[in-house]
């Protein structure tokens, strides 16, 4: 890509980036991308504009085309889930623009790169904490839709819990909505009623249920300690900064190629992490459990342990198999 060709980058060192999001940016997934790009803009490396709430009903193709034709950015970030074919069609028409999209598919030459929130590693670690902290032996997960990404982190969380406590039972509820915190809370309360005492909040609304009942919870996407200072043990954090930085560097250097950027969303490159364990939760967290998790974290980082990737839809009631 000839960076110097674009008008905005002409005078100085900045390049232009456009964010095109299917959901509103208040939705956590796209919010993570948006925050990372805003940080880069603040740092002065890029100019950043965005449009959101494009939806899944056929508008993405038009909006991307307009963006490519009128804004002519150097890079377009966004999410392709639910609009996969349309996004790839537009990308193919504008090979001089770097398209970097959250996607379940592979990269496409010359310009279509993919990423995803590969946070199954910290999810596994959170699962270990959950398995070790649960006194009832029942933990709960409340997720949006059973899409691969959510299945992946849920299954990793369950596997982590099972490693620490093979007898653990897991309740999994999908809301069939990305936004419905009231439903999420009710789902969590139903899990609590069925015995769950540690909850994984893939969506908003779950931590509130745990907090109200004096139980423990794990946040997702960002560190959500402030939603339940005495309940949130830790959070499974996704950070797009490494991905965004890498892509911008590449484009600036004129060496951008289409690739799968998944590594940048994993723990190894800092794109995924387990938030600092919150010692203030009720009854605290036993040091040996923290040590166990820290050791596993190190093993993952060094490549000595690979968290299994399982994208099958988890059942609503996962019981230990004898």
């Amino acid at each position: 890509v000839d960076v110097t060709n674009t008008t905005e980058a002409a005078g100085d060192d900045t390049i232009s980036v456009f964010g095109a999001y299917a959901t509103q940016i208040e939705e956590p997934w796209d919010g993570v991308i948006h925050s990372a790009l805003e940080a880069e803009q603040t740092a002065g490396r890029i100019t950043y504009e965005f449009t959101d709430d494009i939806g899944y009903a056929g508008d993405m193709e038009r909006v991307l085309t307009e963006v490519a034709q009128e804004n002519q950015p150097d890079i377009i970030f966004g999410d392709a889930f639910g609009n996969e074919e349309a996004v790839r069609r537009v990308a193919a028409q504008f090979p001089e623009i770097a398209f970097v999209f959250g996607s379940g598919g592979g990269p496409a030459d010359p310009n279509f790169s993919v990423f995803d929130n590969w946070i199954h590693e910290p999810a596994y670690l959170a699962g270990m904490l959950a398995g070790g902290l649960s006194e009832s032996g029942v933990i709960g997960v409340v997720g949006g839709y059973p899409v691969p990404e959510v299945n992946r982190i849920t299954n990793a969380f369950v596997a982590g819990a099972q490693e620490v406590n093979p007898e653990v039972e897991v309740k999994v509820t999908f809301l069939n909505s990305w936004f419905d915190p009231a439903a999420a809370k009710e789902a969590a309360l139903a899990q609590i009623a069925e015995g769950a005492d540690v909850l994984y909040a893939e969506r908003f609304g779950v931590i509130e249920a745990a907090a109200e009942n004096g139980l423990l919870a794990f946040g997702n996407m960002s560190d959500q300690k402030e939603l339940g200072p005495e309940s949130v043990v830790s959070s499974v954090v996704w950070d797009m900064a490494p991905t965004v930085k890498y892509v911008i560097d590449q484009v600036m250097a004129g060496s951008y190629t289409a690739q799968d950027l998944k590594d940048f969303s994993m723990m190894g490159k800092g794109g995924a992490s387990l938030a600092e364990v919150n010692a203030d939760v009720a009854n605290g967290v036993p040091q040996e459990l923290i040590d166990q998790v820290t050791a596993k974290e190190e093993a993952i980082r060094t490549g000595n342990f690979r968290v299994p990737i399982n994208e099958a839809q988890p059942a609503g009631a996962i019981v230990p198999t004898e």
């Binding site: 509103q24 940016i25 208040e26 939705e27 956590p28 919010g31 993570v32 948006h34 925050s35 805003e38 709960g140 309740k171 999994v172 509820t173 999908f174 069939n176 909505s177 990305w178 936004f179 419905d180 915190p181 009231a182 439903a183 809370k185 009710e186 789902a187 309360l189 139903a190 899990q191 009623a193 069925e194 908003f204 609304g205 509130e208 109200e212 009942n213 996407m221 960002s222 959500q224 402030e226 939603l227 059942a315 609503g316 009631a317 019981v319």
Partner: protein, 301 residues
């Protein structure tokens, strides 16, 4: 037994916003106006209730703000359907669209678009018998069942205002010629109804969650429209309809995570509340008539 008691508690909690919405819509429709603005009014109540509480630090201020927004939404519906006499479907859908748009817009301008949520300390549950029983509910739930429902019924059945309200919804010509101010009565009904809907929305932000997120109402307003018709425009039947819906909703959440129900796709269980209400409507038999002046603007000549 504990399962049933816990389910009952969850039912009451889940029914709470529906009760506010259903009674609010009942008031509007008994006065002759279908208020499809309900979804947006609940949404705006949730947001502005939250925003006011977050800014002032007072939940009471939040509740009052929600009420104010509800009154304003009702007044807007009044302007459109009573004063101007527009098509009620478009007026309601437009109001919903606009109120959701405004709430989300202001949310972004005031609370930013970054990650994480702004939070307030929500109303704690009131637990006279200690935690984790049927009577560990939010204040707004007690208000809904022990104050609002009887009061709403009493006002409709026993007060002059209630009589006027029913009359302008059944036969505005008759009410007018008896000296009832049709427009004013309809405005009052819409505004009271709007305030109730908004409080139903604020229940989520001020009590259940303590935070505002997009799509927080998630179609519950539309459900209320169906519940009102199912309840044949009676307060008590509407409350019963809300309880039925909430009970099945809470039940399916519990069944889904039981081992015995794994063979059933969870989507089917999620559909259950809707299907049960339809089935109940079929079983409970024919509909009685709509309010006589339903959907009709009143013009004197």
């Amino acid at each position: 037994m504990t399962f049933l008691l816990e389910l009952l508690g969850a039912t009451l909690r889940n029914a709470t916003p529906l009760v506010y919405g259903t009674i609010g819509e009942t008031y509007s429709e008994r006065a002759g106006v279908l208020n499809l603005g309900i979804e947006g009014t609940m949404y705006a109540g949730a947001f502005f209730g939250f925003a006011a509480a977050a800014i002032t630090g007072s939940r009471t201020a939040g509740l009052l703000a929600a009420i104010a927004v509800g009154l304003a939404a009702g007044a807007l519906m009044g302007l459109l359907t009573v004063t101007i006499g527009t098509n009620q479907h478009v007026a309601g859908i437009g109001t919903t669209l606009g109120l959701i748009g405004i709430s989300e817009y202001v949310n972004r301008l005031w609370f930013g678009s970054g990650q994480g949520l702004s939070r307030i300390e929500p109303y704690p549950p009131w637990e006279p018998l200690g935690p984790n029983n049927v009577f560990s509910q939010y204040g707004l739930t007690y208000v809904a069942f022990f104050l609002l429902a009887p009061l709403a019924w009493w006002v409709l059945a026993r007060t002059h205002f209630g009589l006027n309200l029913r009359a302008v919804g059944e036969n505005p010509e008759a009410a007018d010629s008896a000296g009832v101010n049709v427009a004013r009565t309809r405005y009052a009904a819409l505004m009271i109804g709007g305030a109730l809907m908004a409080v139903g929305g604020a229940f989520f932000t001020l009590a259940a969650l303590g935070s505002f997120t997009l799509d927080i109402i998630a179609g519950r307003g539309w459900v209320c429209i169906a519940l009102v018709i199912f309840g044949r425009w009676r307060v008590w039947r509407g409350v019963a309809a809300a309880l039925l819906f909430a009970a099945v909703y809470a039940l399916q959440l519990r069944l889904r995570i039981l081992e015995e129900f794994q063979a059933i796709p969870f989507e089917l269980l999620l559909a259950l509340p809707y299907l049960v209400v339809i089935a109940a409507l079929v079983i409970s038999g024919r509909n009685v008539a709509y309010p006589g002046a339903y959907l009709k603007p009143y013009r004197r000549e």
